[in-house]
Amino acid sequence: MTAREANGTGRETRPARDPGRSTAEWVTLSVSIAIIAVLVGLVVIVFIFGGDKPATIEVRPLLEEVRQADGAAYLPVEVANRGNRTAEDVTVQMTLHTEAGEPATAAFTLRFLAGGERQRGVVAFPQDPRAGELRWTLSFIEP
């Protein structure tokens, strides 16, 4: 019997004797299963081996990449999370102490920093940071 009838959604049902999947359908289903398996495997691996260490933030001023423009010195700062948990609202405040004048302060905030992730921020000072002493403070939230 090969009667076909439309159901309420306007879709046709297969004939009563289903010829089975075509080669194309088997290939695409195999690829789909592989994709989902990769996703699930990634989650399982991270779950088992990813660890749960609290966020540990490392701040590294890249003094070798300082550039001067319009009377200011721009200093890239690399921020890395050595822990496993994500840190939220990571605020880095850099203070430059030089022999002449008051200390200069600049800060930036990273919205999220996942475990193992590193990002860059840039701070700008009126003096070359390589000519003074840099100190920094750090704050963040663990969601």
Binding site: T9, G10, R11, E12, T13, R14, D18, R21, S22, T23, A24, E25, V27, T28, L29, V31, S32, I33, I35, I36, L39, V40, L42, V43, V44, I45, V46, F47, G50, N84, R85, T86, E88, R111, F112, A114, G115, G116, E117, P143
Partner: protein, 281 residues
Amino acid sequence: MERSEPGPWQKELDDFVRAFSGAFLFGIPLLFTMEMWWLGEFVAMWKLLLFLLVAFLANVHLAYFAGFKQESAFHTTVGQAIDALAVGAVTSVVVLIVLNQLSLADPPRAIAGKVILQTVPLSIGASVANLLLRPDESREGNGDQPGNPLRATLNDLGATIAGGLFLGFAIAPTDEIPMLAAEMQAFHELAIIALSLVLTYAIVFESGFNPQGAAPGTEGPFNLPITETVFAYLISLTVAFILLFLFNHIEGGEPLSTLLSQTLVLALPVAIGGAAGRLVI
């Protein structure tokens, strides 16, 4: 004249184009939601597995009643649900990379979180593809009168604008647009142009949602597939630009690069909305 029955590979390709089209139509607003990207950074791994399980069960149910394959016995429903999940995952990866919200260098936890969270709504969109934009055999040539190319062109023009506004209005006022635009580089901008053109072409001409095409004698400049796609994209860019101006995201005196980036970013959902508009109107 009847169309010849497509071969199994062509049929499978048509089914998946339909699925990807449904995924984009349903999931594009959430792809442009920053909270979804952020949640992916810290959601617990066991919750991600639960998300996948819930999505799978929902897709099994949806595939049985409204799947993207036009013929489906019950025993193929599970396979179709797996296909829908895979479509959602691939769509998620591609769009997040184009929007510069995902990189293969990101930590595995962040990759898994961002991709799986977006996979849920995108896979549902793939599963309901046939319901979202069902082929309508009663509409011959979009209802155009034979020999009236101007009317057909104006109809498509209006539909593109209306559909683009429908999706664009939900995304244009948000902060995601300037945020995305600020983070995009030249590669991402070129990729988003290509993605916009390919997607709109696929939705309108390859997904099978509108198999009738233009009625004989109504072929105007808007009805040749590639011409229509490009022209519709130009309209989408214009609509996107106007929306950004109205919602104060761009003002006079802004750098050209800023205007261009924001317009290209918003033009993606506007173009998809325009493509959907040309199918339903």
